[in-house]
């Protein structure tokens, strides 16, 4: 018999997996697009395709976030369920995941600093946004992997 906790936990796992898949696709497209921009490559077709992929993956990420939000609402209505879904192991995994995200962000900033010595980077906002995406993505990946 599947308990309510198990059902919600499985659903949360599926939501995280879906979010992770689409955020990875989003990130890869973002990284390619940023690389092409920094290298000053001008190809409208490639940029349009990447933009479409970015928009589709962003929409699907929002869909999975919405699904996760619905589970949050269900948890809020049942304090026992909420407590179980945030038990001490899950809280520890969250902390570990933020640590992974932080180090990924620092790692990328060091990488960007080294690259900036070799080539001139004009769009620093792009670097900051990429760093944030890497940090957040690493955190999400770590949450998923630690909770498998």
């Amino acid at each position: 018999m599947t308990t309510k906790i198990e059902r919600v936990d499985q659903q949360r796992g599926k939501n995280r997996q879906g979010f992770l898949v689409w955020s990875t696709i989003f990130f890869i497209s973002w990284f390619i697009r940023s690389g092409l921009k920094i290298a000053e490559v001008e190809n409208d077709t490639v940029f349009t395709v990447l933009l479409v992929v970015l928009i589709i993956s962003l929409v699907l990420q929002v869909v999975y976030m919405f699904k996760d939000h619905r589970l949050d609402v269900e948890m809020k209505q049942d304090p026992r369920l909420k407590e179980a879904m945030n038990d001490e192991r899950i809280q520890l995994n969250e902390l570990r995941a933020w640590k992974v995200g932080f180090f990924a962000l620092i790692g990328f900033i060091i990488f960007a600093a080294i690259v900036s010595l070799l080539i001139e980077i004009n769009d620093m906002m792009l670097v900051y946004l990429t760093a944030l995406l890497i940090g957040f993505g690493a955190r999400n990946t770590a949450v998923y992997l630690l909770d498998r």
Binding site: T2, I5, E6, D9, A84, D87, E88, R89, I90, D147
Partner: protein, 69 residues
Amino acid sequence: MGDKKLHNTLKVQRAKHNLTQGQLAELIGVTRKTINTIENGVYTPSTYLALKLSQVFSVPVEELFQLDE
């Protein structure tokens, strides 16, 4: 953590009480994965959770968790 490994008799106690991991998880308010990771020695529970487990099985906590001799 240390040179001594932590062992547990959770699986044995569960079998004695005819409980699945999911049912035990429900009883103490955690996920089934948490019970699974404790049983396999992947996760070491807090004192609070260890005491909750010993309460469910009505055994002293030392009977559930032991360090290597």
